[in-house]
Amino acid sequence: MPQAKVVLKWSTTLFVLVIAIVLSAIVCLTIGSVTIPAEVVFQILINRLFDQGMTFEHGYDVIVWDLRLPGILMAILVGVALSTAGATMQGLFRNPLADPFVIGVSSGGAFGAIIGLIVQQRMLSSIPKEHVLPIASFIGAIGTIFLVYLLSKKGGKVSVTTMLLVGIALSSFFSAVTMFLTYIQVGDPRSVLFWMMGALDNIRWYNVQISFPLILVGVVILIIYSRDLNAFSVGENTAKQLGVNVERSKMILLSAAALVTAVAVAFTGIIGFVGLIIPHVMRKIVGPDHRILIPSSALFGGIFLIWANTLSLNFSDIYEALSGEPRLVILPVGVVTALFGAPFFLYLLMVRK
């Protein structure tokens, strides 16, 4: 147990982050393609939370509660998932370039999605696409992890370096096949492409209801095992000497990280840079102790993705302000995170020198 001073510092940080996330959520609830005044948004929230029985015109309360709120909650969940998974990967692999997709989860998920799409079109057209895609993607993602694990296992032990390499190899393979299938697929490849660049539009309550427990479980596990991650960062042999059951911890950490990433990818496609950048930012602010790094990365990831999502969905307004043309432009979230993440990442590299 760390000193009281440190615990106080950590608690304060987490408290501030929680306030920030709640404020971000409320502010972004007022932003959307249909202009709804902030007071009305507040009234809607109070109405729904405390069952006041008010009615609103123009479907405002449906827009705020059934469209925007699930979207924001999903952004939080996915931001939390990707940041914690990213921090975990960076700790496990002892590599600052690691991100949640490093062992092939993303390409496996994309591959599963496109297979699911084709199967749904040909054989299961009675079940709507938005139900089939997440399940197929999830199966693809988890299946890939298993494959990576099996291929990297040697004599009861799994070397992280081997996993990394196997992950890269499988990623390339699945990416190539996915690209090819997307290309020859008859029909509208637009929605698949959009998904592969990260999509948080058109999220509904049931998406949140399914992902919430899964991501919560995974993140809680990662927080509990964050002490083991601290040990890992000094080397596996040292960790063993410190009393860590290395192989078991590794398995649990990887599984939890893979689980939350697979859920995120299944519902929202591949959103890059979040899992990579957020842990680095938080490491600078709170330090490398994973017991604070993991939860604070989670919260900051949520904040970041709420704003990235709002920007991506309302890019039309910026487009209109810049070009004078009113046109609906929805930037995929992955593009927004890359636009911010890439320059920031370069900055990080410069500073390290």
């Binding site: 959307g32 393609s33 249909v34 123009h58 479907g59 405002y60 449906v62 827009i63 059934d66 469209l67 925007r68 057209s125 709507p128 696409k129 938005e130 895609l133 029909g187 509208d188 637009r190 929605s191 959009f194 998904w195 999509a199 539009d201 058109n202 509904r204 309550w205 049931y206 969905l313 046109r327 609906l328 929805i330």
Partner: protein, 399 residues
């Protein structure tokens, strides 16, 4: 003896060379090898005078617009001017005005405000007439049209409705109605026009819809090869009726065309007299629950159908093409009726996606079970069946 032989041979060679150019002299004409004697006329025109000059059975209306020795600016048939130099070849203007190809025009003299024109018909004029298409071009159309190429499914439908479907020698890939249209060879796919196929077919006239060739790529290609292309550009139901009559004119079936449009007009009038409560109508082209929906607007055909049937168009826009809106906007617009575009060949999931979307459940159209699949071909194709689409819309819009 050798010298004599030599002289004879040289003489023969000289004689042969003198005759040779004459032997190989080609008769340039563009009417398939038949030589018809050109017909010449010399006329004197005054500045600002318009004169109708008849050459080879065809009337040409010339106007002298400006004289600046040695240049003269002429207008032909009221269209774009040609700049001519005295006794020189006519300079090409940069509009493609086909009338110039059939006439050789020479300004032989300029005297004050009088211009002497020497006009020679190249012999093909009597075989053609000029009809203005929707893009303002005076298109050269043969008087007898036996081989037609259609570059749009709506045009194919019109041609069959006018009973000249048997004259079609080529169609675009999307032309699938009526069923017999599918037996016609495809000369144009979604990737563009197949020039080789098209040239082999040697059509008398090619009819296309400009809205399907948004950037004029196919049109320019065909013009580069010197083909006669007639462009339609219908935007409303009335435009469709006019197009039917224009195609009737082009294919020499104007009486049939007028009969057809009279019948269609009667049906439209019947629809317009029905009483409605002016419901708000949204036309959804594509929605699958994962990307923002594509919808028709006030400036697309669906918009004109809705207005004519007595409804209000949900989405206002001027661009004339389908646009994307957000689900938030659909909720806010709260349409009373939603028509979802459906296709037999490529089924769209729109209706199911809308009915299954929990965020849309309070929208009027969804609540009142007024989300209706309509055959896209009846709404998006500017052909005779658009009135079928109009009547279908009216069935739900009228009381």
């Amino acid at each position: 003896m050798k010298t004599k032989k030599f002289v004879i041979i040289i003489t023969l060679i000289i004689i042969a060379s003198a005759l040779l150019p004459g032997c190989i002299e080609s008769n340039e004409d563009d009417n398939g090898g038949k030589n018809e004697p050109p017909i010449s006329v010399t006329e004197v025109l005054e500045l600002n005078e318009s004169k109708i000059i008849t050459i080879d059975n065809t009337d040409y209306n010339f106007t002298v617009k400006k004289i600046e020795d040695p240049t003269v600016i002429l207008a032909l048939n009221g269209n774009d001017s040609m700049i001519m130099l005295k006794s020189n070849e006519p300079e090409e203007t940069d509009t493609d005005f086909d009338g110039v190809n059939d006439l050789e025009i020479n300004v032989t003299e300029i005297a004050g405000s009088k211009v002497t024109l020497d006009l020679r018909s190249t012999g093909s004029a009597s075989k053609y007439r000029y009809i203005t298409d929707d893009m303002g071009q005076n298109v050269k159309v043969p008087k007898k049209v036996d081989k037609i190429v259609s570059m749009a499914p709506s045009i194919t439908e019109i041609l069959f409705a006018l009973s000249v479907g048997d004259k079609l020698v080529g169609r675009d890939q999307a032309s699938n109605y009526p069923a017999s249209a599918q037996d016609i060879d495809i000369v144009s796919t979604y990737e563009g026009v197949d020039m080789e196929m098209l040239l082999v077919k040697d059509p008398d006239i090619i009819i296309m819809d400009k809205s399907l060739d948004f950037y004029d790529t196919n049109y320019n290609k065909m013009k580069d090869y010197g083909l006669n292309v007639f462009r339609l550009y219908p935007r409303t139901i009335i435009d469709v009726l006019n197009n039917i009559e224009t195609i009737g004119l082009v294919t020499n079936t104007l009486p049939t065309a007028k009969e057809l449009t009279d019948g269609l007009r009667d049906r439209i009038d019947t629809v317009e007299t029905r009483e409605t409560l002016k419901p708000k109508v949204l036309y959804v082209i594509y929605y699958d629950g994962t990307t923002s929906p594509w919808v028709g607007t006030s400036s697309t055909f669906s918009g004109d159908l809705i207005i004519t049937a007595g409804g209000k168009v949900a989405v206002d826009d001027e661009m004339g093409i389908a646009i994307q809106i957000t689900v938030e906007e659909i909720i806010s617009l709260n349409p009373d009726i939603i028509f979802t575009s459906q296709d037999d060949q490529w089924p769209t999931p729109s209706r199911d996606a809308i009915l299954n979307d929990e965020a849309l459940k309070d929208v009027n159209a969804v609540k009142n079970n007024l989300v209706i699949d309509v055959n896209a071909d009846l709404v998006d194709r500017p052909g005779p069946r658009i009135v079928d689409g109009l009547e279908l819309f009216s069935d739900y819009i009228a009381i």
